[in-house]
């Protein structure tokens, strides 16, 4: 019994310790956004009074509204088109089953194994040939080709009641209307989970936008933060304001849709 109690205490100590380690960087981020860079570099972990000054300095260096507009525009357009294209494909592969389409699906699944590191150079030359370099379209287009989300939709469509489609066909509803007006509303939770996965990935994307976008007025928040912090003497107080601002949207999505978030994640192992 005594040993049992001991392991229980050990467990709480371990969990508390790990929780503090996990949360500390968030605290650090908030604290640092209110301190001067000199204080940050000396490891000051209490709140300061520099927040407003840091915000002003940041907005002097970069056009924050424009950067956020760019980031949101790319994230939202990527998400909408990925959900549309991937859910159509998941629906098509599962509802209209055929041997040939399953072969194509098999090829698609194989491409999931291709690491992005291997695609970045040929994609770059492709975009150069198409004269799309330094445009938001070039950032969005390859994101839409997400086989993982197609796979996710197909898996979830397996649970979709086929009788609904039959009933709609008897009523003479056109096939694409069945997809829009019957399938989409029923699959709301799947769309929500996929939305979170794609939106997070797109908002947090770094390498591909870094390669494609060159003009300062097209850049996303991650690119701006990265270039600010790669200075020889990075102005951390100012940068921290930017990281807080970049983290708020993803935190908001997470807290608003926590249930679907976890469901989406564990759904991906099925």
């Amino acid at each position: 019994m005594n040993q049992h109690k001991l392991t229980r205490i050990g467990m709480y100590v371990f969990l508390t310790f790990m929780s503090i380690l996990s949360l500390f960087p968030f605290y650090w981020m908030l604290v640092s956004s209110t301190n001067t860079t000199t204080d940050i570099n000396q490891g000051k972990i209490t709140f300061g009074d520099q927040l407003w000054i840091n915000i002003t300095k940041l907005s002097e260096q970069v056009d924050l509204t424009l950067i956020f507009w760019n980031t949101s525009k790319i994230a939202i357009l990527s998400t909408i088109f990925t959900l549309l294209v991937a859910s159509m494909a998941g629906y098509g592969f599962e509802i209209y089953k055929s041997k040939n389409r399953d072969r194509v699906y098999g090829v698609l699944l194989l491409t999931m194994m291709i690491p992005f590191a291997a695609l970045m150079i040929p994609l770059f030359t492709l975009m150069a040939k198409a004269q799309l370099l330094d445009t938001h379209l070039a950032v969005i287009l390859p994101t839409i080709a997400s086989v993982f989300i197609v796979f996710y939709f197909r898996q979830c469509t397996k649970a979709f009641p086929g009788e609904l489609i039959d009933a709609a066909r008897v009523d003479g509803v056109k096939e694409w209307k069945i997809y829009f007006y019957v399938y989409m509303p029923v699959m709301k939770t799947t769309y929500a989970a996929a939305f979170i996965i794609v939106f997070m990935a797109s908002w947090n994307a770094f390498l591909w936008p870094l390669i494609v976008l060159q003009s300062a007025d097209l850049k996303t928040i991650n690119l701006v933060l990265s270039s600010l912090s790669s200075a020889y003497f990075p102005d951390f107080g100012v940068i921290m304001v930017g990281t807080v601002a970049a983290t708020i949207p993803t935190l908001a999505v997470f807290f608003l849709m926590q249930k679907q978030f976890v469901a989406g994640m564990s759904g991906s192992v099925k």
């Binding site: 467990m11 490891g43 055929s98 983290t247 192992v269």
Partner: protein, 303 residues
């Protein structure tokens, strides 16, 4: 469903329904298939073609396997490859072990504040890779929070050169990645643990098996498939490590944290571009990722 629909629509013959069904099927999958063909299949094939060429900028010549031979004589490539392997061989096991420990703690019965602990440990994986890299860069600066804390508790007397020493720079990267992905993997383990029969633990407790033994002899063996899955996924992820290294150390000091992805980036966009050679390096990642994927496929089949 095919036959039932044919019956529902008596006017259409079997053949025309078949065509109607097929056209709709292709129609729905076409956008996705076309996009994947253009943005994944075509690039990966064209990159194979590129890897047979070499040259700077637009002047390229056919070199066949010349690039492959160059790989073996390129000290920077060897450095990047060995760094990448050090990262994944050290980081993945540590992270998987910690995630397993955490999830088995969180899964134990009558735990108080369960959802609070779970939320705290999961929260890091909501941050963007760039944002958290910057946080770690500032915390691990020479006089930063990490050193101040370690000196305050008396674990060290002199500050550790986290970012400027070859060894400690690697440690910093490993700590950072573990922080970001620990909670992510934990969720997979937690959802798998929900499927384990509680009576097994009940029986073990009655037999007087300690919690630590329960962890190693019941939880770990039963979770083997999920552990292998997450290990392979994490390994493929670490194989492509870029954002963290780029933003925390910039590959330095003296290429000591340079990874394959970062080397590819440097070859193509930082130095005078040599896309052919960069494509060859990228095929090294494809090669290892393919081996891992194959391994995963075998495991899935065994299941």
């Amino acid at each position: 469903m095919n036959t039932s629909n044919k019956l529902l629509n008596p006017r259409s013959s079997k053949k025309s329904f078949h065509r109607f069904y097929d056209i709709n099927g292709w129609g729905f999958v076409l956008p996705a298939v076309a996009l994947v063909a253009v943005f994944m299949i075509y690039p990966i094939i064209s990159s194979l073609w590129m890897s047979l060429h070499s040259g700077r900028g637009i002047i390229v010549e056919f070199v066949g396997f010349g690039n492959v031979i160059r790989l073996f004589n390129d000290p920077v490539f060897i450095k990047a490859l060995s760094n990448t392997f050090i990262f994944l061989l050290v980081q993945v096991p540590i992270m998987i072990f910690l995630s397993l420990m955490l999830s088995s703690c969180l899964n134990s019965p009558n735990l108080k504040y369960r959802s609070l602990f779970r939320l705290a440990i999961f929260l890091p994986c909501v941050t963007s890779l760039v944002a958290y890299s910057i946080l770690f860069k500032s915390m691990f600066s020479f006089e930063g929070a990490a050193n101040s804390f370690l000196m305050w508790i008396g674990l060290i007397t002199d500050p550790i050169p986290w970012l400027s020493d070859p060894f400690w720079a690697k440690v910093t990267i490993i700590i950072a990645i573990t922080w970001r992905w620990m909670g992510y993997n934990m969720i997979f383990f937690l959802s798998a643990m929900q499927n384990i029969d509680k009576s097994i633990y009940e029986a073990a407790r009655i037999e007087g098996v300690s919690s630590i033994k329960q962890f190693f002899f019941i939880t770990v063996p039963l979770l083997k498939p999920v552990i292998l899955f997450t290990t392979v996924m994490s390994t493929i992820g670490t194989l492509q490590l870029f954002d963290e290294v780029m933003n925390i150390t910039g590959g330095g000091p003296a290429n000591e944290t340079l990874t394959l992805s970062m080397y590819i980036y440097n070859l193509s966009f930082k130095f005078v571009p040599n896309f052919g050679y960069a494509a060859t390096v990228s095929y090294v990642i494809v090669f290892f990722a393919a081996i891992l994927a194959l391994l995963q496929f075998r495991i899935a089949k065994d299941k």
